[in-house]
């Protein structure tokens, strides 16, 4: 397909181009400046001079991402709406689908001009039979957009605010958003409408920050409770200059985000969003890395030594091919010190399915570990004589007794860590 993308040099745009290329589309970049790396076709496009844009013939869809987030005055608003109207016209002329990327804040009575403008454009798009996408809190990938601001804030501040009452956000990974946009462009069975794309369950803003700290920056950050009232007061007291510098305005728009019902739209597009923690990893997907760590722990626990890379790869393949490919989210303690897996048994898990899955994986790790030359020594022994056998058996039984006692003592703690780990997902 031939897809024109406005705002192609932006945060979402760059990912949309990369992923669109992967899907085998011809992407035409519509931007003010020609792209630095000229891999894609380019047509000039400027929001403020969009009166006469002509789309290349054979364009199948246009994704309109270009926007001005500041909207200083009324002229800005007007030209933004104007640009959209012109684009819609141009799209009609070549018979291309028009897909507009709006905002979660779009409302006729939105508190910001930004939200109201988006709403106005949405109306234009819908009445022209186009598609509107409202993304949630976009994160992941390059440090740009609001996400970039958040990451650098978390990096700078040792103590982060935990707002009270906690505002909720609905994150979506930038690649998942790009994928969703492409699906609308590609598929014929998605009727024109407003599509809300974001995590189904809102997470509190503090968890978002905490995940940025842990998964993106690999650091630990403390949280300081801050009543929202205080921020509101600050916004009022501090001058405009400070407000912008501290990003307080943007923050404030977070506090009154409406919750979006996204499940039906995600289903309509068949879009499966990656979990927040996985998407927050710098690679954009730490599923494999987490499986690897799980494999290291499980196999290491069985073999009593670091497992070789071949058997580790096999463990990952097994989980991917037979068990859906997601790691179990064992707490760090177990990943770092596999011997502590001795604390786990059926009763440690709050949920039966996870418990059964853990036992399945333990069996799988046992079978895989055994079927290696290292495993042959570990499992078969070499016939060490009576004393050695007696010693190793007694040792095994004594260890068992110790771990049983420890398990009894620590079982509430273990259960708590396990259930908490699940909560973050």
């Amino acid at each position: 397909m031939k897809i024109v993308v406005t705002g192609a040099n932006g945060y979402v745009g760059t990912r949309l181009i990369t992923i669109g290329d992967k899907h085998g589309h011809v992407i035409v970049v519509a931007s003010r400046q020609p792209p630095i790396i000229q891999e894609n076709l380019w047509i000039p496009f400027d929001i403020y001079k969009a009166n006469l844009i002509e789309l290349p013939s054979g364009t199948d869809a246009i994704v309109h991402l270009a926007a001005n987030t500041l909207l200083a005055n009324n002229t800005d608003k007007k030209s933004e709406i104007n640009a959209a109207v012109n684009l819609i016209k141009a799209a009609k002329e070549v018979g291309a689908k028009f897909i507009f990327v709006s905002s979660q804040t779009a409302r006729s009575d939105a508190p910001t001009a930004y939200g109201r403008t988006k709403w106005r454009i949405e109306q234009e798009v819908l009445s022209a039979g186009g598609w509107v996408v409202r993304p949630g809190q976009v994160y992941g990938g390059e440090l740009r957009g609001l996400f970039g601001t958040l990451v650098s804030t978390v990096r700078r501040l040792p103590l982060l605010p935990a707002f009270i009452p906690a505002p909720k956000v609905q994150p979506i990974h930038v690649d998942d958003l790009a994928e969703g946009l492409l699906r609308i462009a590609e598929r014929g069975d998605v009727p024109p409408d407003v599509y809300c794309l974001a995590a189904v369950a809102p997470v509190s803003f503090s968890i978002l920050l905490d995940t940025i700290a842990k998964s993106r920056l690999r650091c630990w950050r403390g949280f300081l409770p801050v009543p929202v009232l205080v921020i509101n007061a600050l916004t009022f007291i501090l001058g405009e200059k400070f407000r912008t510098r501290l990003g307080l305005e943007r923050l404030q728009s977070l506090f009154n985000l409406p919750v979006m019902e996204t499940r039906p739209d995600l289903n309509q597009l068949g879009l499966e969003l990656r979990p927040l923690r996985s998407g927050m990893h710098p690679s954009g997907n730490d599923r494999r890395r987490r499986l690897l760590r799980e494999g290291q722990a499980m196999l290491g626990y069985i073999l009593k030594e670091r497992p070789g890379s071949a058997v580790l790869r096999r463990y990952i393949r097994v989980i991917e091919q037979l068990r859906g490919g997601q790691a179990l989210d064992l707490p760090k303690l177990f990943l770092g010190y596999p011997i502590f897996l001795s604390l786990l048994d059926e009763s440690s898990w709050t949920n039966k399915i996870t418990s059964a899955e853990y036992l399945w994986r333990l069996d799988a790790a046992t079978v895989l570990a055994e079927a290696t030359p290292v495993g042959a020594y570990r499992f078969l022994g070499r016939g060490h004589g009576v004393l050695y056998s007696l010693f190793s058996m007694t040792h095994a039984v004594l260890c068992e007794v110790c771990w049983r006692i420890s398990r009894m003592l620590f079982s509430p703690l273990v259960r708590l860590t396990l259930s908490q780990e699940k909560g973050i997902l």
Binding site: S342, G381, G385, L390
Partner: protein
Amino acid sequence: MIPDFDVIIVGSGPAGVSAAFPLVEAGLKVLMVDGGKRPDIQPPEMDFLSARINDAEQWKWMVGKDFHALKMRDAVSPKLRVPSHAFAFDGFERSNKIEGKDFISVGSLATGGLSNSWGCGVARFSATEIAKFPFSASELELSYRRVSQRMGISGRANDDLSDYFGLDEDAQPAIPMDMLHTHLSQHYLNHRKKLNSQGFRLGRSRVAVLSEDMSGRQACNLSGNCLWGCQRHSLYSAVDDLPELYKYENFTKISGFVVDDLTRCDRYWSVSGQNTLSNERKTITANKVVLAAGTLATTRIVLKALDYRDTVPVLSCPTAAFLLWLPRLLGAPRLPGFGLGQLSFALALYDNITAFGSTFATTGIPLSEFARHVPLRRRYSIDLLRGLLSSCVVGNIFLPGHLTVAGAKLGRDESLVISGKYDDKVMPLMNEAAKKVRKAYWRLGGMLLPGSFTVGRPGGDIHYAGTLPMRESSVVGETSPLGEVKGMDGVYVVDGACLPVLPEKSHTLTIMANADRIGRQLVVLKI
């Protein structure tokens, strides 16, 4: 119309090949068809222990490239998890539309059938057992000898089970025992009288495994690969009989022809089914049809052709397994050795019931098979077993097949549903057996490990029989003394389905002898 063949034999397992020999030798035009599955994984080339220590790619035959062993985690027998045996069980239930409800239903679509993976235990039925057959014991005598000589049996020994097995005149010497079994049998000699009076008899296992080379197959070299696949063909499989049959021009075989229908046309039978390669349907005609598709598949073909909707009985032996520890041999080195039954025992229980069992070395079996059942943290159960297992043997135990109350019924969708449970007597009998086994082996210097005696699930024996039993005067749902299906003249059942009894001992040799007997009589009838 002239039919395509004189006889069509459905199935190339032990029953099929045993019926084929007399028919082919008599010059009849015989077609044999089967499900056609073939092995696709090479068994290890070195002996088991060397392969374990040296072969970096051992996971391919231990776990399987498609992780077969893990996919089959909940299957009843370790054999069902072995990748090189996967072909033997693959697709059977689906293609034959067989469904076990609370009952394990295993079968084969392979060339050679389940004998590709069997335990090679062989025995003759006793005079009392054969008395329940609708013909005289002497009719089976010659057939027993013929098939025993053809397949190659070892384990000849003048011991307390000679009569129980009844095979010594046609058997090769026994395969050497390992240290543990030698220890047990020596102690047995010292306590024989006492144990006999308690109803416990011990002897060498009689197995269809060569201890001397025979017709192109090599004698066992104690490689320890019995579970994984024997490169030397020391273990009998019906596949080994096919080259001999191919020598006859009047013998034809089609592999990958799954029969699902028998219909009468004129005086002939037409056999139809699906070619598994081309997916085309095919129909072939013959004067007579011999069914040897394995008890469950044969039963379905017959019930479907008869449109018989009542339940027929299924005989199946209740089983249990146990682990026996020989403290005196603690720390024994792991040595290569024979992996199938080395010693067997017969045990008298109350109500005139006899239990039969065998003991095996643990070396060739993955330790993970045991570790799963040890109530210790996994890490320490491996530590414990690694010290313990080299001085342990595993045992199994079988009770007579009538103690499983099971039935097979053709459902509305034409699938055969097998369901059933153990008779109420089974648990008390198993408890008694456990007690007696514990006591007997204690005398032999063995300790039944606490908690290790585990009763299997119904159908787990994979010895199914008696669905269409031979009777003197048969009614619909039964067969004549020749295995001829009542209501289907010219269709003969020669596999386990036609056995009227299923004792506790290995039954395949009797299936084969009976198939041979029926084959011979068909030749006589034809003339």
